[in-house]
Subunit: 299 residues, 2 copies
């Protein structure tokens, strides 16, 4: 592995962990966030303190919120793409429409930059541990150029194709299921309460039966413990399922279960739960049915 000059743009819960993992991997890392205190914290942990020189950056990792932020970072008023050297690599991690990813790739390639469509999965803990799953597609050059950084930040890189868009499509499929499964878990755990099944008993039994899911095993304990500290917030889902449904609409694809799950998250946001852990969608069901959820330190 060779040491790269890496810029990580966006130091949210995922980006901060990615920047830490790249640093631990031996790279020189410039971490930048719109929140100055977050940038300063990363510099104090070993990040480069100088202003990033994008002409000298080998790999830019974009861990921003959505398509519009991705476009702004690359091609906006202070966009970095115009300053990057030929042959440099852009790793774009936000969940975006596949069509948008293909458009970004084309604009990057027009500047002789390599673009890896690389949405990530795994959550903040895996990001911090360099153990993310990455759903990646792009040119062979983009994969080769990204490899040293990927080895630092990812446990699994799915190589899904030679053009941007396929990675984003797979991420959309994953988010559709993840969002539906959290809401379905919330529906089932609260339904169980109406029948005398406690959330703790629900977890004990269902996690060993055919009704289990990765999200159920990960999120149902938050409900049983009454702990809605946001590991991943309710607000993620109107955004991500909205992207999924936009893509589906463009393909004339009807996704009624996803639509129904989105409506439950929208109710959660309306109820002021947007910044709580996404398991708080259970509170929508509990409120409708007049149920009490377990209380915990943060509920």
């Amino acid at each position: 592995m060779s040491t790269k000059n890496v810029a990580v743009i966006g130091l949210g819960s995922m980006g901060y962990g990615i920047a830490q993992s790249a640093l631990r991997g031996g790279h020189k890392v410039w971490g930048r966030d719109v929140v100055a205190a977050t940038t300063a914290k990363f510099i104090a942990e070993g990040g480069e303190a100088t202003v990033p020189d994008y002409a000298d950056t080998d790999v830019a990792v974009l861990v921003v919120l959505n398509a519009s932020q991705t476009e702004d970072v690359l091609f906006g008023k202070n966009g970095i793409a115009a300053h990057m050297r030929k042959g440099a690599i852009i790793i774009a991690c936000a969940t975006v429409p596949p069509e948008f990813a293909r458009a970004m790739e084309a604009r990057a390639q027009a500047l002789d930059l390599h673009y890896l469509d690389a949405p990530i999965s795994g959550g903040a803990v895996k990001a911090a541990n360099g153990a993310l799953s990455v759903m990646a597609s792009g040119s062979a050059e983009a994969f080769v150029g990204a490899q040293d950084v990927m080895e630092s930040i990812a446990e699994t890189v799915f190589e899904l194709g030679s053009q941007a868009g396929v990675g984003s499509a797979m991420k959309a499929v994953n988010q559709m299921l993840a969002g539906v499964h959290i809401a379905a878990m919330a529906e089932a755990v609260t339904f169980g309460i109406t029948q005398g099944v406690s959330p703790a008993s629900f977890i004990d039994v269902i996690s060993k039966c055919a009704g289990t899911s990765w999200m159920l095993e990960n999120r149902a304990p938050h409900i049983a413990e009454g702990d809605y500290t946001p590991r991943s917030s309710v607000n993620i889902w109107p955004k991500d399922l909205g992207i999924v449904l936009d893509i589906a609409d463009q393909a004339n694809f009807d996704a009624p279960i996803t639509k129904t799950a989105l409506a439950q998250y929208a109710k959660a946001v309306d109820a002021g739960l947007g910044l709580e852990d996404d398991a708080a969608v259970a509170k929508v069901y509990a409120a409708q049915a007049g149920l009490n959820l377990p209380k915990g330190k943060h509920s």
Copy 2:
């Protein structure tokens, strides 16, 4: 373990495997089905050939379709309960409303019979291998009396409480999730096709990501292989999700995701897919969006 005289009523895909497992466990097993050829097949495999003498039966395992068949077998015109000896055990495996299970328990106890509310999970292969999960509730006497048979047929027995009903409640929760997860998998796999993600690629990636579920890993291969040989049929789900929603309605609990999934299965039945494997709910999505699913030997 002591050898018991066991009657298994209902030799469908689950009951047949349970009867085989009980036989392999060293019990004397009378297997009976409304289809005479199925009964004959089981006798040829080592089942008892004589007419069952319910006065001499230690344990009756009911693996019928629903509440009404359960009631009919026990208390109908030719009902067995009136003929069973005091202290004998009824193991009731159908998915039924918790309230119905409590009513059956009361009627059984009035005849000095022990009633185990014991819905099963795991599918036909696990039934045949004596490796089912059982969600059981009932009196201590019912658990003790059922133990030798349970050891033959189950890998895991969840002991959920001392009264009938809790087992059925947990089963309803499990079926809610299992039914939603199959339909969600079908929605996601077909959505993926619209974005260039093949079902095979979907399985490779999503089964290792946060979007996975037990049902996804079990059923998505049927779609990728185009094999709709019914391991468990579409027809199960209007029945089981109907039971779930009836129970929910009685508790004034709104279950919108379950309702939406049920509507997809209802469309599958309307399209003539009721007897196909439940993964065939994907064909509803494919038909709506004009997609081609993989073809296989049986599709």
